[in-house]
Every structure is written in structure tokens, then in C-alpha cells.
């Protein structure tokens, strides 16, 4: 039997497992069948591990312990999450054939509750990009239109969920890498508050910005996954010791009296008017449900891109020093000496986007530029945080578009790094301030999904989900399926 993930949310799959209507092996086999049927079009996976997945599923069936909602459910993992003994490349040539000797904390948590990892998803190389086109290995396509990009950097995880290959997936978000691909594929993606989820075993790109988060088809599913992966981890000193609440606690559909702020800057220059119109209609729907909606200002928004790309590239240039060809991964041939080994390995092992960011970061941290670039950006970061604090003194959530446009054509933007960077304007302030941010489908423009972004106070994911759930249940947009769903 093949189980369709479009018709079954996590709760429904969980109940069927408990009632023994289906088995974990059925679910794992369905996922593998789905991958066979559609992944030649989506190219969402770099690595699949069918044998291990089926062995693991059989074990879960034998134990028959389906206590956790995710027990026995298949999951796809972004290829920058360390998986013990399973190739993890970060979509980079420099980690070709690298097999970690440990599991990332989030992977360990999923394994512990009996979720079944079926494979590692494609992404921009080391999560640097917004279209998954900087991957060394393959080009992933959008679940709604295979001539369009899936967004990025977690494009493979987003396409795998939106295409119905898996019921849920994990990604990482440093400047929008969960929310923007979720928006481009019409699904739900959350970047949790900085510190909510352990980063241990996530390949570090920019350590003060990175967070792991879930991709799902519905808001409730998303909250259920966060319930399992959140929490303090002694291995990540930036993970929070705060108690993890039940993130589904406010999913009532009620937003009466909820105070929603709409920043005027999020509808400014560069935002596609059709996207703006769709998002405004979604906000009007929230207002019709009883929320109080006001326009506000986040005056430093336009400086976010510059501040982000300085801070992110500086941290990345430092983090990526570890890739030198000595201990693991790719090593260049024909080298004269150790210095030459480093230079040749890095020059042949990294792609252009990674090199660009290492260069920007190295420059921003260099003696002559440190004050004018790195330190200046860190001060702008303070101003961006203060903007948010002022608004959150009076409002519960901030809403706007997730991305300025819908998904664009494959190959259309990749040669213009400046344009690619500017397209992150709506997602990066959230990372700089460490806030939780959710993207839910707001509707369609020319057949392509538009993202509604909901930003919350630190550690208030529950209210962010509450808002997203109310809109989702009122609009029921998740019932619309991409054509690729007909292939199952």
C-alpha cells in the first residue's frame, strides 16, 4: 500500500500507526516509492538510505512504541545536519564522501523518538544562497513548477515536503533559508528563536544567526515537530535553558484581540505588487477574524541586508577555515607543500558563492576594515533589534511578505549576487534579532505560492503558530496541491 502524505497530517499518520491500520514499514516504503516516482523531477535528495530506513522502520514496528507523535514517521534532513555514518556534504565538493562520526542533536532527538530518516536533502553549498543552485551536486526544482527554483538554501527539504515525498523535513535558517523556500513551495516553515533548538551538529555558517527548524504542510504539524526538536543541549552553549512549552497550545483558530503590526517598510520598493496584494488580502482575512491590525515602522529595515551580509560573511569566513583538506573530505592532488595543500584544496573544493562570502568576511574582519564594516554592522544590528523591541512593546506579532517575489526561473538570478542578496531583505532582520519567524502560504500569483511571514517575540513561537493556524484554517490553502501530486 502507498500512503499519500497530502491526505494525512502527522496526527492522522500517528493514529493509524497506533491503531495498526498502517506500519512504519508501510510509511518508509511509501516514502521510498514517492522518491522513485518524483525525485527525478524535483532532485530534492543528495543521498537516500533506503536499506537503513526500512531496517529502522521494521525495528520501530517490532517495538510498537508509538508514544511520540513522530514515532515511525519518515523524515528528510538537510544535508548540513550531521548523520552518523551517512554521507553529509553540505552540498559542497569539499565534503565529498564525508561521513560524520556522530549525529546532530536534532537528528539524535528524532532517532530517539523513532522517526525514520530516509535521506539528506539538497541545499545551497554550505547554506549560502537563496535558490539551491549553488549546490555542487544537483539542481532542485520547485514543487509547483519544475522550471522554477525551489528557493533556498533549504530548497531540497522544502521541495520534498511540498512535493509530498515526505510528511516533514528539517532545514536550517541563517537569513531566511527555511522561510523563503517554504514560501516558494507553499508550505509551512519555521525559524525558531535563536537558542530554541540546538545547533550542535549543524554545519556552522554564521553561528550567531543559524537555527534549525521544521518544514511541514500544516501549522499544527510544524508545532508538533518543534515540540520534539526544541530544548536545551549541553553541547550547544547558546541553546536556551528556558522551558519548552507545548507549541500547539494556542492553536484554536481564534485571533480575536490579537495585536498585529504591519511594517510599512515590508511593502516598499522591490516588492512585487502582486505579492504585496496577496499578502495584504491575507492580513485583511486575519483582521476579519478579529485581530487588531495597525501599520508600524521598522525604520532600519533597509540597512538589514548590508549589516547581515557583513556579519554572516565574517562569521562564515572564520567557520569555514576548518575546511583545509587535512582531516576529512576532499583533498587536492599535486601539491608542493602544506600551504599549497590548503590553498589548492579550498580553491578547488569551494564553489564561487562560498568563495565570495569567505572573501567578503575576510575583508570585513581585516585590520583596515574592521571598524567601518564589521563593528559598524554590529551596531546597526543593535538598531534593528531596538526597532523590533519598540513594536513588540505594543503588538503580539509582526506580519508581512516572506519574500519580495514568487519563485523565479532556474538560472535567472544566479549570476547576479547583488540582486540575490537584496532579495533577502524581509527575512534577515529576524535572524539578526534572533526572533522566531514563520512562513505560511498566503495565496498564489500566476500559479506560484506567496509566503505570509509571521514574526514573534523571542521564545513566543506559540503566538506565531496561533496566528498562522488561524489564517491557514480560514483560508484552507493547504488543500490546493501542486500538479506533481497527480504522479502518486
Amino acid at each position: 500500500m502507498t500512503i499519500n502524505f497530502f491526505d494525512n497530517d502527522l496526527t492522522s499518520l500517528h493514529e493509524q500507526l497506533i491503531n495498526k491500520d498502517i506500519t512504519a514499514v508501510d510509511l518508509a516504503q511509501s516514502t521510498l516509492d514517492n522518491i522513485d516516482k518524483t525525485d527525478d523531477k524535483l532532485n530534492a535528495f543528495i543521498t537516500t538510505n533506503p536499506e537503513e530506513a526500512l531496517v529502522q522502520a521494521k525495528k520501530i514496528d517490532e517495538q510498537s512504541d508509538f508514544t511520540n507523535i513522530l514515532s515511525g514517521l519518515p523524515v528528510a534532513l538537510k544535508d548540513n545536519l550531521a548523520t552518523n555514518g551517512i554521507q553529509t556534504t553540505g552540498a559542497s565538493r569539499i565534503l565529498e564522501n564525508f561521513k560524520p562520526v556522530y549525529d546532530a542533536t536534532v537528528v539524535d532527538k528524532l532517532n530517539t523518538v523513532g522517526a525514520i530518516s530516509v535521506g539528506k536533502t539538497n541545499m545551497d553549498e554550505f547554506a549560502m544562497g537563496g535558490s539551491t543552485e549553488t549546490s555542487y551536486y544537483k539542481t532542485t526544482t520547485n514543487a509547483w513548477d519544475q522550471t522554477k527554483v525551489p528557493g533556498g538554501s533549504s530548497g531540497g527539504s522544502a521541495a520534498a515536503v511540498a512535493g509530498g515525498l515526505v510528511p516533514f523535513a528539517l532545514g536550517s535558517d541563517t537569513g531566511g533559508s527555511i522561510r523563503q523556500p517554504a514560501a516558494f513551495n507553499g508550505i509551512v516553515g519555521l525559524k525558531p528563536t535563536y537558542g530554541r533548538v540546538s545547533r550542535w551538529g549543524l554545519f556552522a555558517m554564521a553561528s550567531s544567526l543559524d537555527q534549525v527548524g521544521p518544514f511541514t504542510r500544516t501549522v499544527k504539524d510544524n508545532a508538533l515537530v518543534l515540540n520534539t526538536i526544541a530544548g536545551f543541549d549541553a553541547k550547544d552553549s547558546t541553546s536556551s535553558t528556558r522551558e519548552v512549552p507545548d507549541f500547539t497550545s494556542k492553536l484554536t483558530g481564534d485571533v480575536k484581540g490579537l495585536k498585529i503590526a504591519v511594517p510599512k517598510e515590508y511593502f516598499g520598493e522591490g516588492i512585487d505588487p502582486k505579492v504585496a496584494k496577496t499578502v495584504k488580502a491575507a492580513i485583511a482575512q486575519l483582521e476579519a477574524l478579529g485581530a487588531i491590525v495597525d501599520e508600524v515602522s521598522l525604520p532600519h529595515t533597509k540597512y538589514g541586508v548590508a549589516a547581515y551580509y557583513i556579519i554572516m560573511s565574517s562569521e562564515a569566513s572564520s567557520n569555514l577555515q576548518r575546511y583545509d583538506g587535512v582531516r576529512y573530505g576532499f583533498r587536492a592532488d599535486d601539491v608542493k607543500n602544506l600551504e599549497d595543500l590548503y590553498i589548492k584544496t579550498r580553491s578547488e573544493g569551494f564553489g564561487d558563492e562560498v568563495k565570495r562570502r569567505i572573501m567578503l568576511g575576510t575583508f570585513s574582519l581585516s585590520a583596515g576594515a574592521y571598524d567601518a564594516f564589521f563593528k559598524k554592522a554590529a551596531k546597526i544590528r543593535t538598531l534593528l533589534i531596538e526597532d523590533f523591541n519598540k513594536v513588540f512593546a505594543d503588538y503580539d506579532v509582526i506580519v508581512g511578505p516572506t519574500a519580495p517575489t514568487v519563485a523565479y526561473g532556474l538560472g535567472e538570478e544566479i549570476d547576479d549576487p547583488t540582486a540575490m542578496y537584496l532579495a533577502d531583505v524581509l527575512t534577515i532582520p529576524v535572524n539578526l534579532a534572533g526572533l522566531p519567524g514563520l512562513s505560511v502560504n498566503a495565496g498564489f500569483v500566476d500559479g506560484l505560492p506567496v509566503g505570509l511571514q509571521i514574526i514573534g517575540k523571542p521564545f513566543d513561537e506559540a503566538t506565531v503558530y496561533q496566528t498562522g493556524y488561524a489564517f491557514e484554517q480560514a483560508s484552507r490553502l493547504f488543500e490546493q496541491l501542486p500538479d506533481i501530486a497527480k504522479q502518486y
Partner: protein
């Protein structure tokens, strides 16, 4: 566009700091691209930040300290499997100076 922020010579210097090498045409392209990105970075100069403290992290935590006990260290063979070249239970790398062979 304003005057150039970074020269080809400076880009070559930054590349050497980052342990990257570029051929002439790549160096030219990177210089053009980096220059246009640095122009965006320079817009930050418009903002007066004289009395603003920098933010380097948004974590609420101070430091997590643990007992000074060795933990999770016994993985030498597993780690060596990932090394591109090993010899005698060690990772093998080329000599630091030219011409010092095996």
C-alpha cells in the same frame, strides 16, 4: 556607481589571507562583484551609530561550565576513516617546506 571600494590588488591580498587562489579572469570578476557588494555595505555609513553599542550575539546565556572530565574522546579509528591520507594511525600531510619528500 561611486568610486571603487576595492582594487584587484586588494582582492588578491584578501584571497591570500583566506587561503584561496584565483586565476586572472576570476580575480577580475570577483573584484567587480565584491566592489558592487561593498558599495551596498557602505550605505551603513549613512546611519549615525556614535552612541550605539555593537551586538555580536543575541544569546541570553552567559557560559555553561562543566566538570573538567574527558568525554567522548575514544573515536580515533572512526575519525581516521575520514582522513584523505593516513599512515601509522596518524593523518598524513605533505611537508611544510618544498622538496622535503617522504
Amino acid at each position: 556607481m561611486s568610486e571603487t571600494t576595492i582594487s584587484q590588488q586588494e582582492v588578491a591580498h584578501v584571497a591570500s589571507l583566506a587561503k584561496l587562489a584565483f586565476n586572472d579572469s576570476d580575480l577580475k570578476q570577483f573584484t567587480t562583484q565584491l566592489d558592487s557588494i561593498l558599495n551596498i555595505f557602505e550605505t551603513l555609513g549613512e546611519v549615525n551609530t556614535e552612541d550605539v553599542e555593537p551586538t555580536y550575539s543575541v544569546t541570553e546565556n552567559v557560559n555553561h561550565l562543566r566538570e573538567d572530565v574527558a568525554d567522548n574522546w575514544h573515536q580515533k579509528q572512526a575519525l581516521l576513516k575520514n582522513a584523505p591520507l593516513e599512515a601509522a594511525d596518524l593523518i598524513k600531510v605533505p611537508a611544510i617546506l618544498d622538496g622535503e619528500g617522504e
